[in-house]
Amino acid sequence: MTLRERLREKISAAFYHHGLLCASYPVPIILFTSASILTCCYPLLRLPLPGTGPVEFTTGVRDYTVPSHEPQGDLGERPDWYRGPPVAYIQQVLVKAAVSPWDSSLVPVDVFRSPLGRVFSLLEEIRNHVHSDSTGVRSLEALCLQVTDLLPGLRRMQSVLPEHGCLLVSPGNYWQNQRELFDSDPDPLKTIQKHEPKGLHTSATLRDLLFGVPGKHTGVSHYNRKRVVTYTITVVLVSYDTRFLGSLRSRLKQLHPSANCSLRDDHMVHVHFKEEIGIAELIPLVTTYIILFAYIYFSTRKIDMVKSKWGLALAAVVTVLSSLLMSVGLCTLFGLTPTLNGGEIFPYLVVVIGLENVLVLTKSVVSTPVDLEVKLRIAQGLSNESWSIMKNMATELCIILIGYFTLVPAIQEFCLFAVVGLVSDFFLQMFFFTTVLSIDIRRMELADLNRRLPAEAGLPPPKPGPLRPREAPPPPRPSPHTITLQTPAFRNLRLPKRLRVVYFLARTRLAQRIIMVGTVIWIGILVYTDPAGLRTYLAAQVSEQSPLGDSGGGGLPPHLGVAPVFHAGDPTSTLSVLPAPEPTPLPENQSQGHHGSAGAGPRPQVPPAVPQITWGAEDEEGWRRLSFRHWPSLFSYYNITLAKRYISILPVIPVTLHLSPQEAIETRHPQDTRHPPPPIPKVSADLQTDLTLYKVAALGLAAGVLLVLLLFCLYRVLCPRNYGQNGVAHGRRRRGDLPCDDYGYSPPVSEISPLLLRGHSMDIECLASDGMLLASCCLAGQIRVWDAQTGDCLTVIPNHGLRRSSSSGCWEQRDGWDSVGGATEPECLGSDYLLRRRSVPARPTLFTDQPDLTPLIDTNFTCQPPSHLATPPRGGFDFGGLVERAYLEHESPSLGDAPTLPAQDRASTAGTQATADWDSSVWAMELRGNLIAAGRSSGKLELWDAVEGSLRCSNEDGVSGITALAFLNNRIVAARLNGSLDFFTVEINKPLGLLQYRGAPGRGSMPPSPCYSSEDVISCQLTRSVQCAHQKPITVLRAAAGRVVTGSQDHTVRVYRLEDSCCLFTLQGHSGGITAIYIDQTMVLASGGQDGAICLWDVLTGSRVSHVYGHRGDVTSLVCTTSCVISSGLDDLICIWDRSTGIKLYSIQQEVGCGASLGVISESLLVTGGQGCVSFWDLNFGDLLQTVYLGQSSDGQGVRQLLVLDNAAIVCDFGSELSLVYVPSVLEKLD
């Protein structure tokens, strides 16, 4: 044994024990794992939340020193990023200028032209300011941030932003800082506007950059009512010099004193900017995430054969994610702060760690033998894969270690994370996922226990049916009939993968959801990454509104006083005010106009309105009102990033400028006076802002509509209505088109052939099944027993009554008794197993409306095999004598034309014995275990062995015809035509243990087992007969849950207890004969009558729960599911009622004359019989899922009876044939 093998064995053993441990104590282990995950993730709480908004930190100006690079221990509230010098210091000079006093001769342009003009002299002042003291001479040139050139691609900014030298921005930049250009500019506003971007912008615009205050606060517009112009001169300094700045400040203050200014100047604010996520960076990120999700999707899709696929997929994803979180948390705990962008490396980490191990584990565990204990399955599965898991893990660790030695810091960090992530992922796989898997497997086994055997039809390895030796299922018979079947209830269909993908998309409405989620994310990103942009915009809107409200009180009176002036100030009146000296200035003679306007003096009669320049707290940090991208975008123009760095903003220097009207007029441009004043000056300002708002809204709306239309078109192009129907023969679809639901797709189609069980010569009258066997009885009285799963005919019990002529009416059972052990027919023995066909002219008297059926009737008659003879009779029945007589009587005509049936049939019918009771037909039939209970019109009850086809006993205590039978446990209840109810007990002579209950039909869970062996002697005794149980014939008889419920023509329903035949309740409430009753194990009782009413009863108390009228005419059939009651009526309507409230959920109008038979296959699948077809309905939505046509020439024949078998097959009669339709896809797992 090599070392490798020994190692392998050890690992395998360790994994085995570990698997046992996990499966044994799932809950403690999951708790432990969760606790460890939480512990490891705890350090993450200290990490800052990711965000892109800037962070501020304020320090005092006086004791300011440039922070050092090294962290100096704990510095209180000092943030991490506050280290080293800032990128730049921002010194803003906030200028507020106004022409005062204002008089009416001034035109709106005057509000800002001369104040803006003053910027040039201020700029000169700042540029030329020199501070000299003992330490030397300092000028701005030495301190300011020298920029070289603009980013290529910003050509249009070239003329505006400084391209070299100091980074000093002001409104003067619009005119290249040259007074002459400004003076000769006919329309400054237009110049400003020219540089504005066309589209919608929430971030910094050029105007904001140059003015340094939000556009609305500049006052540079024609509609400025406060007539105060505000702008800043922004100086970007690279180093901080207290003295120089102090002298500049005092100089400016001295030159332009601000009287009422009380701005604080002792705080500087440091603003730290996070990493920027631009759209260009977002695209690769989104791509990687899309790839990641595709990877996860394709991986988890492979999880199969488990109880809850989604649960396990979720567990897998949780495993990987929490291992990542754990790795980050652990790294943080040990002092490794992640410097990588988590969002970027995250997908790669997931991909590196991978979901493979999880899937391999699942696969391995699932493929262990199903019959093992859960613990052992888990352990075995784990140990099977242990070697490969360990090997993979080692390989991955090696690769990562190699990566670690690349010595690239980023890769090293990634590798470190990956190593810790791998280890924690391994831990989680072993503890968390394995445990979840064990829980899942256990749940699945429980679910399978609750399901009966046929459920295995959905599982690949079908368990061999334990009941009786049965032939292997035959290959699907070729049948000309195709049926189509549809999802959504059917998901296990074998569809092409492509269709499945599309179908998955359609079913989960993936497209819509993705669009929705995308929209939400988009909005979120918008709000998140650009909060200041939106927020300032909104705040501006709000603040715009509120001062207006104020001005309604305070600002309005002067405004009203001005109003007439304004009125006089419209173009015509301005011209009329200035008549002589100003002939309408032509555009070309500027100088003339200039002089003309210069000559216009202030009108003395107008009271001067003095614009107030006020300084408030909001001016202190005016930059706050700017977009938070203001500074980053300014710097980015010079290819300087502020991401993860900070700038320091120094307190503003306030400058107040009062300009005389004279000066304003002097600086006028000749074209200024030609500007028309605002037509509606009062509201236009609001209007403008409002208009932008409306524009935004309209644009957004239009974009949304366009998007929707586009997507709709795409959808239409990509999903034509008729896909999924390709290549299917459509000819057979007679009942309308295949359903096509609201979403425009119609289901993919699969074909299933109904199995036609042929053999009966006449229409089928009775149908009974116990899940494994299927018994049918035709009008000819022939009973056939079929295998419900394969459709093979097992037994044929011919009706011997038809052979009997009318003359011999009184053979008795006694006859048979007498001839026990008597002579057997020599001819029979000789023509061993010969089948004879006999045609009998006699007609049953009861059904007078029947056609003459005699030529059709097969009367297969065989004699007793010698083996049976050899067994000593044990007081049982032996009908040798009867047989003899029968043969003697009818020998001659039929010997020649005896057809040879298939050997199987011959064998199975070999044991058939002739019976008495000739002239009655079977009216009711039940099948339990191996026993067929047949109630005849003569009132006789017979028990047949279903497999051997022999009569086991009969009872002739009653004379009235048996209309209905119920066979529950070992009791048989027979309802008779005269309204009496007979309770029989089936007894066998063997110990009771052999008589195993098969459970009730439907949802029983016991595996079928042989009930009555052929040696048993079975007797059937009348234990109680309730005479006059009903006044009129009993129409319906149902038994379940120890109760027998009868419904009769006399409008009443009676409930009996099965054990002691005691009548518990007589339920009155119908105003017509009872036609349908439903009772199941859960004791729900529903009854329907000829009056069209449906009553729900409480079987325990006998009270009526609800009473609804649903049908015009008889209720023909009633079925309940756990949530609803389904009824069908003579009016061809199927109604679905809510079971608890009795409210009609919906109704389905069927075609006229369809059958009344109903069946519920699963909670959501209803099957109804129709004319030659059966239809499947989705109960949840009332959609027709599919119509299955049973035959080609089936127009005349309706499906009258329909049985739902436990293996989700349905059996229905179809004329003289039975049709077995498998609905395999219902057997999906309950997840």
């Binding site: 980013l151 691609g153 910003l154 971030s203 920027e276 631009g278 759209i279 260009a280 960076e281 695209i283 690769p284 791509t287 990687t288 790839i291 990641l292 595709a294 990877y295 394709f298 991986s299 899709r301 492979k302 970027e344 997908p347 790669y348 991909v351 991978g354 979901l355 493979e356 690769i399 190699i402 990566g403 690349t406 010595l407 690239v408 980023a410 890769i411 092409p496 993968k497 980053p632 980015s636 123009y637 290819n639 990033t641 991401a643």
Partner: protein, 202 residues
């Protein structure tokens, strides 16, 4: 059969174009720290023919791989699953990401790291000799073609650092070839299955 081929080719082409656009974006990020707002337009305007070229190349490679597999008679059996393919694509994007985002000390280091990563990609997802050979060959050819293009002035690198580009280009090409071959093989496998099913049905 031809329709299938065309469909496959179209899918591969679109994948190639998409990846080219995205990865181009990554490379552009390398050279510019912060973006002016019109970066998107600049990307599309840079060289319009690059993405189609990449798409065509990837379509050819993706069709070539399964073809060669069948010619050689050694069908590729290793990890034939979509999840594996997705993993491969993710790793490929990751290699690009690393080459664009991570600062390496020098170009040799960059080259070596990328080469190791590419070989690792091949080992993890392909492990076929034909794949390796084809990858190497195509990578060399493509690098040569790019160099020629640059030489003739048809195409220019935005980055002044010429060696930098040259150091990662072959590795990226190799990884791309492996990735596209993986996708192509997977698609071919799917088609093969469909054909098999059809013959089965018939």
């Amino acid at each position: 059969m031809t329709t299938n081929l065309v469909i496959r080719g179209t899918m591969l082409f679109s994948v190639g174009v998409f990846l080219a656009l995205v990865l181009n974006l990554l490379q552009v990020q390398r050279n510019v720290t912060l973006f002016p707002p019109d970066v998107i337009s600049s990307i599309f305007s840079s060289a319009w023919w690059v993405p189609p070229c990449c798409g065509t190349a990837s379509a050819m490679i993706g069709l070539l791989y399964p073809c060669i597999d069948s010619r050689l008679g050694e069908p590729h059996k290793f990890k034939r699953e979509w999840s594996s393919v997705m993993r491969c694509v993710a790793v490929f994007v990751g290699i690009n990401h690393a080459s664009a985002k991570v600062d390496f000390a020098n170009n040799v280091q960059l080259s070596l790291t990328l080469a190791a990563l590419s070989i690792g990609l091949w080992w993890t997802f392909d492990r076929s000799r034909s794949g390796f050979g084809l990858g190497i060959g195509i990578a060399l050819l493509a690098t040569l073609a790019t160099q020629l293009l640059v030489y003739n002035g048809v195409f220019q690198y935005t980055s002044p650092d010429f060696l930098y580009i040259r150091s990662w280009l072959p590795c990226i090409f190799f990884a791309g070839v492996i990735t596209m071959g993986n996708i192509g093989r997977q698609l071919a496998l799917y088609e093969y299955k469909v054909v098999q099913e059809k013959t089965h049905q018939d």
